[in-house]
Symmetry: C2
Subunit: 305 residues, 2 copies
């Protein structure tokens, strides 16, 4: 089957800062095809979005138009077209709040989902609201906590189908900066992992979170004077950062039902850290949740026509 023969009923798009992902979908929510490019929001000027999208999904439109439902940074002020934040407490998605992007190609109709904001403490999300909506459609009636680990990890309290409150942590970005750009990079080479070092570091950070700043340089010093191995150093850095996040997010998870929505490996690290605190977290795939969230938008938008 060539790309040109795919005839989707609608197209799902997750358009972040670094990447653009699209899925050709049928009416039942089944994935017919998938495509990815590096043309993330961060690399595009306003007039670059439509061409970038057409480069990726053009082949799927050869047999006729299909509406596009998109989420992520594409709806930010620096994106294609701003979709103003909705304020929590609210449902994660509202079909009526979608914004239609300006397009030149008559085959294109692009609906962009707005993100969510919280006034006190100030916080924002874009893209994760769609994952949350998807998680709720995959787990109807879910009441509890969703944790979405990633570059900017989010913890969200869900009740009666609404996002009640949420909190963002820069854990993933800190790990990337410290392991790739700081003096610590010299002792963290490779992809090795030492699970014991991870669990000890999580527990250490949870019990004395204020020591994070002091513990980081020790990774370098132990590498220099005590031969700390890179797999142990990587796992300990991850454990210190995730443990510090768990310390601050304690009101979210302590005694709560927790579901992780994220990449498999990172979610497994969070699950391991939570397990050591007595929390058995479930896990949903982030792609499954994104597609379920966009599917619910596509269905409700069609139904409202």
């Amino acid at each position: 089957m060539t790309k040109a023969q795919i005839t989707p009923d609608w197209i799902a798009v997750d358009w972040g800062t670094s990447n653009l992902r699209a899925w050709a979908m049928d009416a039942s929510g089944k994935v017919l095809a998938e495509a990815t490019s590096q043309e993330g929001m961060g690399k595009l000027a306003r007039d670059g979005f439509e061409p970038a999208l057409l480069r990726l999904i053009g082949p799927w439109l050869e047999n006729g138009p299909a509406p596009v439902f998109a989420c992520g940074m594409v709806g930010s002020r620096q994106g294609w077209c701003e979709a103003p934040y909705r304020s929590v407490p609210c449902t994660p998605l509202d079909p009526a709040a979608q914004v239609t992007a300006p397009t030149n190609d008559p085959r294109l109709s692009v609906h962009i989902a707005p993100g969510l904001k919280q006034t006190q403490p100030a916080d924002v999300m874009r893209g994760e609201e769609t994952q949350i909506a998807g998680a709720l459609s995959l787990m109807p009636g879910y009441d509890g906590i969703l944790c979405l680990p990633g570059t900017h990890s989010k913890w969200a309290q869900i009740s009666a189908g609404e996002v009640v409150s949420f909190q963002t942590f820069m854990t993933g970005e800190m790990f990337a900066l410290l392991s790739e750009a700081s003096v610590l990079r010299h002792g963290l080479q490779g992809d090795g992992w030492d699970d014991t070092a991870f669990v000890v570091a999580v527990s250490d950070a949870l019990s004395r979170p204020e020591r994070l700043g002091a513990r980081l340089f020790a990774l370098r010093a132990e590498g220099l004077i005590a031969g700390l191995a890179p797999p142990a150093a990587r796992a300990r850095l991850s454990g210190l950062l995730i443990g510090t996040e768990l310390a601050a997010a304690r009101p979210y998870w302590l005694g709560q039902r927790v579901t992780l929505v994220g990449a498999a490996k990172l979610s497994a690290a969070y699950a391991r850290a939570l397990k050591a605190q007595g929390i058995d977290a479930q896990h949903l795939s982030v792609t499954d949740c994104t597609l379920a969230g966009l599917s619910s938008l596509a269905l409700q938008t069609e139904a409202a026509r």
Copy 2:
């Protein structure tokens, strides 16, 4: 007076990862001339150190040789010639532990000061030991705490002329990474400063240090949804990081005599933060301390001949 007419008795060198600084000194410890280049240790292969040094101090050797006393990363394993760490507790410098770098130019004799290491908790310093020695020669009989703010801030406990223990914090490097390379950079433009925002953030971080991870992203969110001004955001980021450092370094400063050895602006921020906790810290210039430390090495080395 042209450069060629300078005839130093000895030459002081502070050779860090990013920069190389040299001072032509007379026998009384007076600075005759100063020179700086960007040829830091991080940019040089082993055989690049001698030519880099000659490019900078060559004009000072035209009337005859002068011994060079150097400190900093030049003595690390990746430097010109490794000067193995000495273990605390010990005096900050020991003339007998200096290492002589291999040289080809017969006019050059280069003495490199070793750094210090601590086994538990693991920690290392290179360059700061010379500043500490200088601070002690500028304040004879000093007993108390030295705080050396910078890329990697150090806190050192001094007693009876020895470094008893020390602790490194990556505060300066974290500020640089977060303000230049993270998502926060969008809201931190310019050099503006809001002193109230700084002091509030220090106090906030000291009272709830475990919330650092959560407070960082709020800087971005408040910029987006509440118009947080860049000067307030910069000052708050600095205050959160310094406050978190103070929280972990509390055993070092609480009820102690504290002297700051660092760049003027950064030291002023630390002094402001400590003042709010009831600590009146003195301040010494980092260059004065480096030169006083290297002077003591030069004098003792000459005396031992």
